[in-house]
Symmetry: C2
Subunit: 329 residues, 2 copies
């Protein structure tokens, strides 16, 4: 295993130390492994709290800051944060206007965020669960579809709405609307290696790729021979368009790297994807290309399309200032 | 070779198509493979033109836009752009106030930018050459030190100065000052694979890393067994501090990923580097952690330290809006 790490058991702790030192926007509660805003919001703002297993950086701790999250819980690598962590984040983030939990649809995450909401009894909590991955219906860690790339878009859009001062019901309703409008599909060229395991999560022959990969290396739909980018783009675009009509409103496109694929390749893939979408009559309103929801050192990419109405696009364009996503501020 | 690409011979062309589609800030002259600003500056602004071999994205095309470059030439992968390309970029970018060429110190780049300056006879051109890599004195493609990470910091700082309307002599003098104040050192955990070659540029055993690696996979100082992040941090920090006293003024730190190392590891490495710098009495004024000058699919990282005076820090903080670096706009 070749990684820029120390003791494999302490990777999450050590990375949070580095994140805090590297970013003005956040401070870290190291005991609870919660990333908070460096400058907390005043009373009265709905707080957004997310989190999940580590290994998907910049998700979620890298999206804490003005215009996105108020706090994020970092679980061990590919492991749900505990209810205690989520409760600590929820209680600390509440500014009297309630807290929205943003949860990716994995059984452990859903359960632990629910328990945390009960533990934080005096705080009003609403939840939104993302389940945008069209690859498989159930999966290793999931009942129903897995939550992946739409989580990034949701945290940005809903974060901007919370910043504007809307109440918890309004913010939660928007979050559910965004979650319903997004679909994703991913492909892996290589496996990934969990530091504490020390060996690749799955075996993938040198001439094959996994179509429909999960962000923890969960199996997808099928293995196929390594294909040119134009064919990979088809394998991502077609299942999404088959699942949801994306021509009825403009879309926000996220072409996301899995962690080990360089930007040269992500640019190239975006070009192939955009050409297919144009041919299919999909109108691209906004786009984001880079590493936003990763899977450790996996090579590959995922595509997320979100049907976005005018309000969502306006909120997408609003200023954001986090370690992982920043513009207009 | 597993990559998100089509025909390996057309990787640069295809990636430029994707870059242009993915980024509002730029448009691409595909014939000359020059990335221009989508909204050119008005007459009277000094233009910044850079470029080099592809495979280092977001450098350089990803740094075209308000506050950084006016144009960037994309050579083939790890191959200097031709004099004709650079001339086309220079002539198109000139707004009557002259052009600053920002050139990394590789023999082909230096020669071709010089020839381009002669070809663009009617345009006044000044040049700055970056040579910040302390690893080796001469190298496969280099007489003298190699130009690496400081190029990113220079393009940001000098780009902001050009935006303020200073004349060519002032902008060029600042650029040379920045180039003189920066030092870098890199490490590779894996080799990289040039698409047209189809196999790794060099062999690196599973239990070794290359200390002092070049961004094209050129040999560094030595091979050593894979080490913990804290020891890797020492291997990066110590040679830089031995080369230039970094305690005499605050520094801007770039902890840069080589392309295939995930952000989790880069955060962790930054924590180790920052701890060493604090111990050595170095004051960190600003920091940037992520993939900014990459080496295709190489795993590893590099460290750049830049002694920054108040003016450089003010210019660093100024708004920038490029595909690869953006804040305040």
């Amino acid at each position: 295993m070749k990684k820029l790490i120390g003791d494999p058991q302490n990777v999450v702790r050590d990375a949070l130390i580095g994140l805090e030192k590297s970013a003005d926007q956040v401070r870290v509660d190291h005991e609870n492994r919660v990333v908070h805003r460096a400058v907390p919001k005043e009373q009265g703002k709905v707080a957004l709290v997310s989190g999940g297993g580590s290994g998907h950086e910049p998700l979620h701790g890298g999206f804490v800051g003005m215009g996105m999250l108020d706090a994020a819980c970092a679980g061990e690598v590919f492991t749900s944060p505990t209810p205690d962590q989520v409760e600590a984040a929820t209680t600390a983030a509440d500014r009297g206007a309630g807290v929205l939990h943003i949860v990716k649809n994995y059984t452990g995450d859903v359960m632990n965020f629910e328990m945390a909401a009960e533990l934080a009894g005096s705080v009003r909590v609403e939840s939104v669960v993302t389940d945008d991955d069209v690859a498989v219906q159930d999966s290793t860690f999931t009942a129903g579809r897995r939550g992946v790339g739409v989580t990034v878009l949701l945290e940005k859009i809903v974060g901007a709405a919370a910043e504007e001062g809307h109440d918890l019901d309004t913010v939660a309703a928007l979050a559910r609307r965004v979650a319903a409008e997004g679909r994703s599909m991913g492909v892996a060229l290589t496996s990934c290696t969990v530091p504490a395991a020390g060996k690749p999560t799955f075996d993938l022959p040198d001439d094959e790729m996994e179509v429909g990969i999960g962000i923890h290396g969960e199996p997808g739909r099928r293995r196929v021979p390594v294909a040119p980018a134009s064919e990979i783009a088809q394998m991502l675009v077609e299942p999404i368009l088959a699942d949801l009509d994306m021509t009825s409103s403009p879309v926000i496109v996220l072409l996301n790297g899995m962690g080990a694929s360089p930007l040269l390749e992500l640019h190239l893939m975006y070009g192939e994807v955009a050409a297919l979408l144009e041919k299919a009559g999909v109108t691209i309103a906004r786009r984001l290309v880079g590493n936003y929801i990763t899977s450790l050192d996996m090579a590959g990419c995922s595509l997320t399309l979100l049907r976005a109405d005018d309000e969502m696009i306006r909120l997408w364009d609003a200023p954001v200032n986090t370690p992982g996503l920043r513009w207009g501020a």
